[in-house]
């Protein structure tokens, strides 16, 4: 059938004349209702196309589009129908609006489940972080000059000054305004590190491995060095409070990064791109989780850890309690709940 526009089929102008009222009704509905937030139109009188007729009308317009394409109608008609169809598709197939309950469900149930579902990656991430940490900690206790192989003397002097037991006033007794500034700094710095640790995993996990080992090396070296020079009494009470959410968040960020990297290296029985999409989705969810954990960590670090008026015993007790809470949340959260992970 080559006589597409002629012969027995409906010619373009008559096709448009016959159906354009239906198209206009649908377009009005999209403009007045479908594409606006519900609060803008619910309760208002509406005399146009009824909501319950919309899917049927949408399918009809899809059929008109298919007919228009098949019959070779001009772009002005097919483009208009294409536009209506695209907009209808967007309204009918859009993701449901975010609500509060799924957020609570995510925090309490789905996120811990997601972490446990990736326990292999989390364990690998933990080892990549903790082994260098412990090794360099022990090494710096044994060999005091080791710190200078990783950091330059100015940085070392800066860290030593921050935790000097004789003069810890400038970090512990600081004004409330400084607390807010440090909070902003921790948010910008620590969460960016977490996000980069995750994102750099897409390069065959190499970036994530590097970030985890590097952070472990630094943390271990500094802790060992401060302990060795006798600043432990100011250093440990400072870090113990926020250590639970912060260190576990780093490990989770690493686990998410390893996951996305391994999806590229070994996609198993999926196409590489499909494995990547699945890992990217899980990675985004894990990122939202460790993002929240790092905000909590930054709050504790800025407003609790820095408070010199709180005795170290209280800080250790709270730190231990937070470790128990975080581990219990991650290991037990969402077990046996009614809603299963999707």
């Amino acid at each position: 059938m080559s006589a597409v526009n002629g012969g027995g089929t409906l010619r373009q102008e008559r096709f448009v004349a016959r159906y354009q009222d239906e198209w206009r009704e649908f377009e009005d509905w999209l403009q007045q209702r479908g594409e606006l937030p519900q609060a803008r139109w619910s309760g208002r009188p509406w005399t146009g196309l009824r909501d319950e007729d919309v899917p049927l009308r949408y399918r009809r317009i899809c059929q008109h589009l298919a007919l228009a394409r098949r019959r070779g109608y001009s772009p002005s008609v097919t483009n208009r129908l294409q536009d209506l169809m695209q907009r209808g598709h967007n309204v009918l197939y859009r993701a449901p609006a975010a609500r509060l309950r799924p957020v609570v469900d995510f925090v309490l149930n789905r996120f811990p489940r997601l972490v446990r579902a990736h326990r292999g990656y989390m364990l690998a991430s933990l080892l990549l972080f903790v082994v260098p940490l412990v090794v360099t900690y022990v090494l710096s206790l044994e060999r005091p000059d080791m710190v200078y192989t990783l950091m330059d003397p100015a940085q070392v002097a800066n860290v030593e000054r921050m935790y000097n037991p004789a003069d810890h006033g400038h970090y512990e007794m600081r004004a409330a305004g400084t607390n807010v500034r440090m909070f902003g700094y921790y948010i910008m710095n620590n969460i960016s590190i977490g996000f980069r640790t995750f994102a750099s995993g897409i390069f065959l996990a190499i970036g994530t491995v590097f970030a985890l080992v590097f952070n472990g090396l630094f943390a271990g070296t500094i802790a060992g060095h401060l302990q060795q020079i006798g600043s432990g009494a100011t250093f440990w009470p400072f870090v113990v409070g926020h250590s639970a959410p912060e260190l576990s968040a780093i490990v989770i960020a690493g686990g998410a990064g390893l996951r996305i990297g391994m999806a590229v290296v070994a996609p198993w029985r999926r196409r590489r791109v499909d494995a990547l999409i699945a890992a990217g989705l899980d990675g985004a969810r894990l990122s939202m989780g460790f993002f929240a954990m790092l905000i909590v960590a930054a709050l504790i670090e800025a407003f609790w850890s820095s408070n010199g008026a709180i005795p170290p015993t209280v800080k250790f007790a709270v730190g231990a309690l937070l470790w128990i809470l975080v581990l219990a949340w991650l290991l037990l959260g969402g077990r046996g709940g009614a809603t299963r992970a999707d």
Partner: protein
């Protein structure tokens, strides 16, 4: 075809056409966004500077939100467009043409870091050039696509009256081309009209201005006027 249009088959059995955007408009959109973000950060720095240490804390939080949250919030809450993308007529959509969701936007924008490596979006550009739909690494992992927003014009009224019949039977593709020619006629200069109409000389049997009128007449005939 040297075309970057991606066709998605919907449950209703019609194809959704998504024209993928290439690296150049996307880079321009990014530059525009970068200057907006830089300007915002600078302005906030000046305003919050008066508040001392508290102000700088708030500024750092704002810096964080603008660095990481700006593209995510705009893409999800503003029809898949950041201000830069809007200015360049671009839009982020899911691979099936649906609006981009939170998780997909978070994935593609966190992985921006990876696309930015080692310098100046080199990996992103490489991925863009290799992929048939110009997706960068973040788009691949999030299953999203950056497309051109095609403006839809109202159905144009044909300007030339009169009907002519073609000398030869026409193929469907030829018919579409002739109708599209007639609809674009008002936007074309007289010389360009004749140049195009001359190509169809075997069909109209005329050249020059008369060929243009003839060809538009054939379009009228095809449209059933």
């Amino acid at each position: 075809m040297l075309d970057t249009v991606r066709e998605i088959h919907t449950p209703e059995g019609v194809a959704l056409r998504l024209p993928a955007a290439g690296p150049v408009p996307r880079a321009l959109a990014w530059l525009l966004d970068a200057s907006i973000r830089f300007g915002g950060v600078m302005l906030a720095g000046i305003l919050l500077g008066v508040l001392g240490a508290t102000g700088s804390g708030v500024w750092l939080v704002l810096l964080f939100v603008i660095t990481w949250g700006y593209p995510i919030l705009f893409e999800v809450l503003w029809h898949g467009q950041t201000p830069g993308k809007r200015a360049l007529g671009l839009k982020v959509v899911a691979a099936d043409g649906a609006p981009v969701g939170w998780m997909a936007s978070i994935t593609r924008n966190l992985l921006r870091v990876a696309d930015g490596l080692p310098l100046f979006y080199a990996f992103g550009l490489l991925s863009c050039l290799v992929d048939p739909w110009n997706r960068r690494l973040g788009d691949l992992a999030a299953s999203t696509l950056v497309i051109h927003v095609v403006p839809t014009n109202a159905i144009a009224a044909l300007t030339v009256q009169g009907i002519a019949t073609p000398l030869w039977p026409m193929q469907p593709g030829e018919q579409e081309a002739v109708i599209a020619f007639a609809e674009r006629l008002p936007q074309l200069g007289a010389e360009r009209q004749q140049e195009l109409a001359d190509i169809a000389q075997p069909l109209t049997g005329e050249r020059g201005p008369l060929g243009v009128v003839r060809l538009a007449g054939i379009a009228n005939w095809l449209l059933g006027r």
